[in-house]
Amino acid sequence: MVNTFTKSDPKSHYVGPGAVQEVVSRTLSVLVDNEPGVLARVIGLFSGRGYNIDSLTVTETEHEKHLSRITIITRGTPNVIEQIKHQLERLVPVHHVHDLTLEGRSLERELALIKISGRGENRIEALRLAEIFRANVIDASTEHFVFEITGRTSKIEQFIQIMTELGLVEVARTGIAAIGRGPSSL
């Protein structure tokens, strides 16, 4: 087991009022037994201890072993992030917690379904922009489109913002799925 504690440098001491830490965003990948209540344990830990969840995605990823992968985007000072990881590791059904941000640049993707409603010029413009963003049309009528778009969160945010002007009526997003780069696995 690797030592997962970050060391304070120079030697010692608590983080005093003079040493305010910056809040950072981290992508955590949590491998858990897919048993009843496991998601509630993870979410309850975050709400109970006052941690943030910016995004959360969960589904069973290894069916024969009943393992689920929970991808959590969280925010906090490095101390808080360290606590979050250790608290998660303390949960009985948790196998591993990986800090994908810390372990190297991770690939992060999100999928969104976006409904545009309207007629005329805006409708054509929406379709044209969807092509630029490589969004697929997965449902359409003379009065609407449903686009499917995949990408980094920033791209999806941008697409949604543009579509707001062109008759956006509804958005559904999956939250982020993340994986480390390179040949090795968790």
Binding site: F5, K11, D33, R41, R90
Partner: protein, 588 residues
């Protein structure tokens, strides 16, 4: 070897296989099949409590006085919800408890059935882990896993929720062997480089201090022995948290007394001024640290803990060591001995000289009285007159609890049971019942407050039924003393609802339950009265009427540092009322 039996039979079989001799519980509709099996066997003795909360505290007292897992059996709905306070208490104080709950049959779950509640949902944040068993063939494995989780690593409470149809269903029973847990494998043996680093720091320390906690007790009697060995080998001073009392003998000259909010002057000043601190199975709780940014500012910190999440949680440390206390101390001792270290003797002499100056403040001194029993005096006398009997002490929560921690001196581990983390009033009487159950021949005393004792008074009836000669020593000042003290400190001495106007006559109350009732209000008669209490065969309530307005001192006011203590002997009422700053007032 699998055997076929009903779920209810499996519960008893699993308890037997886990070596459970006593289970504390209360029957109800959803656990009747298990109670029927209990009735038909003699291996597991059931202790009928009077409310489920008492069952969990009793199991806690049992567990902490023996080092074994405490077992609880309650029914669904209110049975389970009544257990919640005890479970939270056990979680905060790391006490191993397995609580088996009945549940409505699986087909009724979610239907708002009679006495249904979402037990696993409610107890998820207040247990180490919990299970709802939906297949009888999982039941035996889950029960064995429950005992493993409760005691492995940092101990804690677990809940196994068993629907009534599962108790009736027939399935295969498996024994406890070969139940390897696939995810929960706490690290017992520490990383050697960290241990070496810690020993080097200790060897080179000029003003060292051991700061020990409940983790030493939880690690087992060997950990306490090793702690004594290393403290004596190094010659360094030692202090402890409330939960760690007894791991190191209070009569030893290296002992500084408890530290923290109501700790001794010498312990807190040593903590503030030390240059190397070894935290052993302690968690830097806010009662210990006081103002966090002024906590032991000049020290390099070594932290030994079996729970990685305890490390760097409140206070950043320099040498984190994840591992069991006994294993780690064993390694430290071995490495220390292999080095034949050259210590800075001159520095250590100066450090002890400084400590002796702090000791000379006599922070636990108080003004005694001839007319009225001072609460400190009451505990002091109780200690003096019982210390040769190796007593087991439990407490409720409040001033009397702190006085007990200050004036009762513990020589051995597992003798001191108190609600430290959660601060549960009503803990002491059921915990004493649990401890007495485990040690039927020993003297077990609940040092109680007049308000706390009423919170689980009903358990007096349990003591009678099971012939448990527990002694309840009520330090009766007629106030919720600690609340009153804080109202004086924070709220202009406006004593909002902290005076119990209509306390019962405790002597008559004792007699109503079939106990012996005693009362004492004269300091001159106190010793004889205590002796009489000890010599009385059955359970006794001792109503010790003490000074009503005594404050529990010394004290580090909230928001203050260790070197800003309020001392008992020279503090005026006005100083008490202005001790806490505006920022300190929002703290608890």
């Amino acid at each position: 070897m699998a055997r076929t039996m009903t779920g209810a039979e499996m519960v008893i079989a699993a308890l037997c296989d886990q070596g459970v001799e006593h289970i504390f519980g209360y029957p109800g509709g959803a656990v009747l099949p298990i109670y029927d099996e209990l009735f038909q066997q003699e291996k597991v003795k059931h202790v009928l409590v009077r409310q489920e909360g008492g069952a969990v505290h009793a199991a806690e007292g049992y567990a902490r006085s023996t080092g074994k897992v405490g077992a609880v059996l309650v029914t669904s709905g209110p049975g389970a919800t009544n257990a919640v306070t005890g479970l939270t208490d056990a979680l905060m104080d790391s006490v191993p408890v397995v609580c088996i709950c009945g549940q409505v049959p699986t087909h009724l779950i979610g239907n708002d059935a009679f006495q249904e509640c979402d037990t696993v949902g409610i107890t998820r944040p207040c247990t180490k882990h919990n299970w709802l068993v939906k297949d009888v063939n999982d039941l035996a494995r889950v029960l064995h896993e429950a005992f493993y989780i409760a005691k492995a690593g940092r101990p804690g409470p677990v809940v196994v929720d068993v629907p009534k149809d599962i108790q009736f269903a027939t399935g295969n029973y498996v024994g406890p062997s070969n139940i390897a847990h696939k995810t929960y494998k706490p690290r017992m043996k520490p990383e050697q480089t960290a241990v070496r680093e810690a020993v080097d720091l200790l060897i080179n320390a000029k003003q060292p201090l051991f700061y020990t906690g409940g983790g030493v007790i939880n690690s087992g009697p060997k950990a306490s022995q090793l702690l004594r060995e290393i403290v004596r080998l190094t010659g360094y001073p030692i202090t402890s948290t409330l939960m760690g009392l007894g791991a190191f003998p209070a009569s030893d000259k290296q002992w500084l007394g408890m530290l923290g909010m109501h700790g001794t002057y010498e312990a807190n000043f040593a903590m503030h001024d030390c240059d190397v601190m070894v935290a052993v199975g302690a968690r830097f709780d806010d009662r210990i640290t006081g103002r966090i940014d002024a906590f032991s500012p000049g020290s390099q910190k070594i932290h030994i803990d079996i729970d990685p999440s305890s490390i760097n949680k409140n206070v950043r440390v320099d040498v984190p060591i994840v591992g069991d206390v006994a294993y780690t101390l064993e390694d430290m001792l071995r490495i220390w001995k292999s080095k034949t270290p050259q210590l800075d003797k001159a520095a250590h002499k100066a450090w002890w000289k400084q400590i002796d100056q702090w000791r000379a403040k006599k922070s636990l001194a108080y003004k005694n009285s001839r007319d009225v029993i001072m609460p400190q005096y009451a505990v002091e006398r109780l200690y003096e007159l019982t210390k040769d009997r190796d007593p087991y002490i439990t407490t409720e929560v409040g001033q009397h609890q702190m006085w007990a921690a200050q004036y009762f001196r513990f020589e051995e581990p597992n003798r001191w049971m108190t609600s430290g983390g959660l601060g549960t009033m009503g803990y002491g009487l059921p915990a004493a019942i649990g401890a007495q159950m485990a040690h039927p021949k020993s003297l077990v005393i609940d040092i109680a407050g007049d308000a706390s004792i009423l919170m689980n008074m009903q358990e007096a009836s349990t003591a009678v039924q099971f012939e448990l000669p527990v002694k309840v020593f009520i330090v009766n000042n007629q106030y919720m003393g600690m609340v009153r003290q804080w109202q004086q400190l924070l709220h202009g001495n406006r004593l909002s609802h902290s005076y119990t106007e209509s306390l019962p006559d405790f002597v008559k109350l004792a007699e109503a339950y079939g106990w012996t009732g005693m009362k004492c209000e004269n300091p001159a008669e106190l010793d004889d009265a205590i002796r009489e209490m000890i010599d009385t065969k059955g359970p006794v309530i001792f109503d010790c009427r003490v000074a009503t307005l005594a404050n529990c001192l010394p004290m580090i006011p909230s928001g203050k540092a260790h070197n800003e203590m309020l001392l008992g002997d020279d503090v005026t009422e006005e100083e008490v009322e202005h001790a806490i700053s505006e920022e300190g007032k929002v703290l608890v």
